[in-house]
Symmetry: C2
Subunit: 478 residues, 2 copies
């Protein structure tokens, strides 16, 4: 469904106009189609799904090392769902309910999972019998549902989250579960490093932790407009759910003990971050590893077309044999229209090959960030891979610089108010809940939580004036 569209029809707004740019890009690059007739439920275009697939392959690879992939049912009976009081308080306003099967009312209402603790933990109770069954680490990649009353946004705030990767673990002790939370954060960090996306890691303030958790760690990405996007969370559940669902194990001494749990999740927001952090006025820029098409070859035809096309196909065969995802664009359009289309889709490397290049035994290699050079036709595979990796470096460096530009250490509420208009403020905070709530109210932004980097020198909490080395990030959040 792409070929019949003139790519020049699409007018991508400048990225400085972030919200419009984002929505138009999802359409022009064929990531997500928002025209499905239910608000907040979207369709993955084939190209978008191919991107999702390669991004999620990284998640799977990182988890498969020591997690099992599984799948649990979507529908949760009301009585199971309602068991954990704090948890349900956090979700009850946004749960979809199935009430009818065919034309008959159901005896028991069924919730569409907003997250799967209440579906999984009754099974953990059955699966775990002894210490030898621990640790247990499972994950699933599934759809979840939230009846959002806020404004929805494709990939960011959805009523159907199509790509929720949730992991759930059980351990003998609280310390082991807490250590697993750190492992999860490190896996997610590795995942975002492979996408060249920098992020903040914070322990969320107590009033913003996951319902039912002892504490929550979150990863946030700073979007181009300075607002933050929570792109991953890891929760220490302790024994809270184990108590509710009766998940116990027999320890080495024959005692029955409650398991300690953690859970952690990532959704298609990782794709939203990928698109938003790296893209430019011309469209997507995709890191080499995840680009559905890594290299596009554009024949530059003067005079006799056949030998050029043949040379391009030979090039394609050679790159493809080396495991590179490559495509020759043999269409009849002028090269400029082709450049436009593949730039929109973020293809990392474009190769141009015309009669003059053939005569010189060279290929012109254009990286998606604009770098351009002619390279010898021999050794093209190595040159392409080298440029693919070089692009990764460029993207990571640029994204890191942009993130740092968006963070400022501020001393006063007034400075914080100003800073959160375009970025993230780091501000001293004594750690008290009262001062935290006041800070959020006065600044008009959310606390992301305590940075995990080096603490500050002592200074006054801007609310209570108590001297503190503590601080918090504050931002407007998506």
């Amino acid at each position: 469904m792409t070929d019949s569209k003139d790519p020049r029809e699409a007018k991508l707004p400048e990225k400085s106009n972030f919200s419009e740019w984002y929505h138009e890009l999802l359409k022009s690059a064929e990531i997500i189609d928002v025209r499905y007739p239910v608000k907040g439920m979207c369709v993955w275009y084939p190209f978008g799904f191919a991107l999702r697939r390669s991004v999620y392959n990284i998640i799977k690879e990182l988890l498969d090392v020591d997690h099992y992939e599984t799948q649990f049912p979507l529908l949760i009976p009301e009585q199971e769902f309602m068991k954990e009081a704090e948890h349900i308080k956090g979700f009850e306003d946004e749960v979809y309910w199935v009430t009818h099967g065919g034309t008959s009312p159901l005896d028991v209402k069924l919730a569409l999972r907003p997250t799967s603790e209440t579906a999984i933990y009754p099974m953990f109770k059955l699966w775990i019998r002894s210490h030898a069954d621990l640790p247990l680490r499972v994950y699933q990649i599934i759809n979840t549902f939230r009846y959002e009353t806020k404004h929805t946004r494709p990939l960011i705030r959805l009523r159907e989250i199509t790509s929720f990767k949730e992991a759930h673990t059980a351990h003998a002790t609280w310390d082991e579960a807490a250590a697993q939370v750190e492992v999860a954060v490190e896996r997610y960090a590795e995942f975002y490093r492979r996408l060249a996306i920098p992020f903040l890691t914070c322990k969320r303030p107590s009033w913003d932790k996951f319902p039912g958790a002892d504490y929550s760690i979150a990863l946030d990405v700073i979007m181009p407009d300075g607002r933050t996007l929570q792109v991953g969370t890891a929760h220490l559940l302790g024994t809270n759910f184990a108590k509710t669902y009766g998940i116990t194990y027999e320890d080495a001494e024959g005692e029955q003990r409650l398991v300690n749990q953690s859970c952690y999740g990532i959704s298609e927001r990782c794709i939203a971050a990928l698109i938003s952090v790296h893209g430019d006025d011309r469209g997507l820029i995709l890191p080499w590893e995840v680009a559905p098409i890594q290299v596009v070859i554009v024949p530059i035809v003067f005079g006799d077309k056949a030998p050029i096309i043949e040379a391009c196909r030979a090039l394609e065969r050679e790159l493809s044999a080396a495991g590179i995802r490559v495509k020759v664009d043999e269409g009849d359009e002028r090269p400029g229209a082709k450049f436009y289309r593949w730039e929109m889709r973020g293809v990392p490397i474009r190769l141009e090959l015309g009669p003059r290049d053939m005569a010189k035994g060279q290929v012109v290699i254009v990286r998606r960030d604009g770098a351009k050079r002619a390279v010898p036709r021999d050794g093209i595979v190595e040159a392409v891979i080298e440029e693919g990796h070089a692009l990764q470096e460029v993207l990571a460096k640029k994204a890191r610089a942009s993130m740092e530009e968006h963070i400022r250490l501020v001393q006063t509420v007034e400075e914080a108010i100003e800073q959160v208009k375009t970025g993230v403020a780091r501000i001293r905070w004594c750690g008290s809940v009262d001062c935290g709530h006041q800070l959020e109210d006065l600044v008009g932004a959310n606390m992301l939580g305590e940075p995990r980097e080096e603490p500050l020198l002592p200074g006054p909490c801007p609310i209570c004036n108590a001297s503190t080395t503590g601080s918090t990030y504050m931002a407007r959040q998506y």
Copy 2:
């Protein structure tokens, strides 16, 4: 959650007692856990999910050649769902309805997809504009829901089908759509060949086609008890849905024309067939290509344990480096208990290595079907792969013979009644709907449809006595 269980606790009934064998095996081999607290909704155990993953990788590989993977929403607004009259008639009694979001009733009821025509085709209308957009071939692997009132069975008749692979295509002409149906049947045939599962291919009688289709082709597997399991279907939709959803394209002459469509699906029933066709009294037997663990190495320890374990680990490293999914079972149990567990899970090849083998420079290789020989330690990789492929041949041949034993050409209704007690009857049928219905009523079994093999010599239709070369398969169906 496996290690703490004594595998000897499980008592697998003999396979001749098929239904009990099947249910116990799903549990003992840890494929599916049926204890989830909603009838007809099951949990994939980690081992079961690993098997599903490798089986579905084959489907993806076969479709990725010329289909795009996509994903469409689960929830379908009532008015879209109700548009195609014949289609909805086929599904309305078994649709789950979401009626509430949080505590509020929804303005528009949302159906949980029983299949996705009504979710996908409104988007096809938007995606398809000209003949250059055709053919369009997409697929998705998703969960679907049917409020089954019949007895449910894990992997076979479910209320949540977790693993529905549905493909949807659009073409310029009816002939091209019909040709796509043949392509689909051929892909499915290839899929089942790779699983060493023989099947029947029939055009379903008109009263059993997919609601909204011109006709339906189905693949059926004969289960050990002689009942058939429909394991794949391909439907020619013609312009039926295109009319309802207004899916048109501009042809080369600038005329607007309706597209012609096909759709085809496979579900986790393919796993049910895989388990049932190949398994034996000791458990699963998995074909080499899809076994989550292809080779288990069991150390046979006499005297000093360390050198044996080290030799087993070296063997594991060598096989693993060759891309084989291999595991050493270093547990403290006696070898017999290990054999039992890995046979239950269908591991194709067991290697046994003890001091006597080491002294002789050999490894004992035991195929899951019982074939056993000692092979030189050098060249073990080739020997293992050879035996893996040999097992595939054995399974295919055995399954083929069993299928043929279960089919009999019969001349009379009485013979058919007898035959469908333990297998599939092939019986003459003039092709008229009336005779078809009478046959089904008299025989007390379903018509699968006309075999695609060579027609019969002329003979009388057992109902109307008209001479015919036509025939049909009849069977009790799952």
